[in-house]
Amino acid sequence: MAEVAEQEIPWWKKWLEETGEQVSFLSGFFRNLFSGGFEWSEFVRQCYEIGYKSFTLVGITSFIMGVVLTLQSRPTLVKFGANSMLPLMVCVSIIREIGPVITAIICAGKISSGIGAELGSMKVTEQIDAMEVSGANPMQYLVVTRILATTLMIPLLTLMGDVLGLFGGFLAVNLSDHMSWMLYFNKCVNSVGFTDLLPAIIKTVFFGFAVGFIGCYKGYNSNKGTESVGIAANSAVVSASLWIFFLDVVAVQITQLLFY
């Protein structure tokens, strides 16, 4: 009977309901963020879990991306006799786009799904309800700390990923040509400016917020039942990834308007 009733709800009504719930969850986050009693120790623990424990994955992926990007781009640039432009191209690509987006996508897969599964599991086993009925504030302890941790750590991971990506590019350049580290470094530094770095860092703050927010929302609102834990983790990855691409498009448009 309930299934029949559920099927009869039109998609747009479900979408509106979901959007309304997300807005309500977002307002709950900001209300709890400024209501005092910040959970510092849990925030630090989450920064460690999210930041430090993702560093290896982000680092290796960024390094490989730097190598691959350089190897793939070289033949085309050589055709035009522009192989000296290789560091510039690699650097601009990594700083502006590949670094932030790849890092955020990796974090959506690793962190957003982890948060979704963890909170979903806590919901299913009534741990969140137990916190709530004891008079403690689960939003403040579980949600605010996680969202702030992703918002802080993803920009830092991106910066570290950028450095490793550029290092990968340097090694790849030296597979076929010879270029000293100082020359490569100077070419990289001269090719990017404030207008490349700042928008890229700012957008990673939003990516970080999206990764944390969606993971928390999906987990916190998962329906009862073990199946819903998997659904929460899976939908957290899908939604967070889509939000990252959407935010990236918006960020590029704003950057174009403001800086170019």
Partner: protein, 261 residues
Amino acid sequence: MEEIKQDIKQPQKASETKTDEVVVELKDIKKAFGSKVVLKKVSLTLKRGENLVILGRSGQGKSVAIKGIVGMLTPDEGSLKVFGDEVANMDEKQLKTLRTKVGFLFQSGALYDSMSVRENLEFPLTRVLKIHDQQDLDKRVEEVLSSVGLKDAIDKMPSDLSGGMRKRVGLARTLILKPEIMLYDEPTTGLDPITSREISELILEMQKKYKTSSIIITHDMECAKITSDRLIVLNDGEFVAEGTYQELEKSDKEFIRSFFK
């Protein structure tokens, strides 16, 4: 066997602490989820110091009835008062205060599995009572763990505990805030008969020690027999019988008697 029976009967004298003051009052409560009506015009009262057991088959809305008492669910119709105040009209601050006075023991124990037993017990103390003095925290944690007989498990993780131990720790975490009302959601489900009996006796012991009023939801008749001052039977969203264990055991309705077989 006779000895066990006497053990069971003796703690029932906990009802001596009962007074006529009503601490929880549900009047004509109705609750539906979508098209499914779970509670139809349900009314009950809980007096101070009383142990009230709600009996009923699974899926009859027993848990729904008590979740409204701590504001986890809002009834569609009717009045739900705790300590004379309407729960539906409470703001967030009032609800938080109410929740410090009403303890809820979940069916699974609901221990925070990323924290040790000590951290589980310290959590409500530091967040709700805002106690941060480590000596004070240690004293309170050790005292309540001793009450439930699990002082040695203080530094264990929930995954290292058995089902019965998890329930005991869950009970300790609830009692650490010294609530005036305790709500138990199927406290003996999933436990073997011996552990079930121990938990039931512990409930009664804690009621005497902490002078709480309790609503116990169960379909475990042994638990009902040990803990109840009064029983209510819920069927199809309505209370169909009320009385003491002995009265309901001799009910003329076959459905009521079927619980006691």
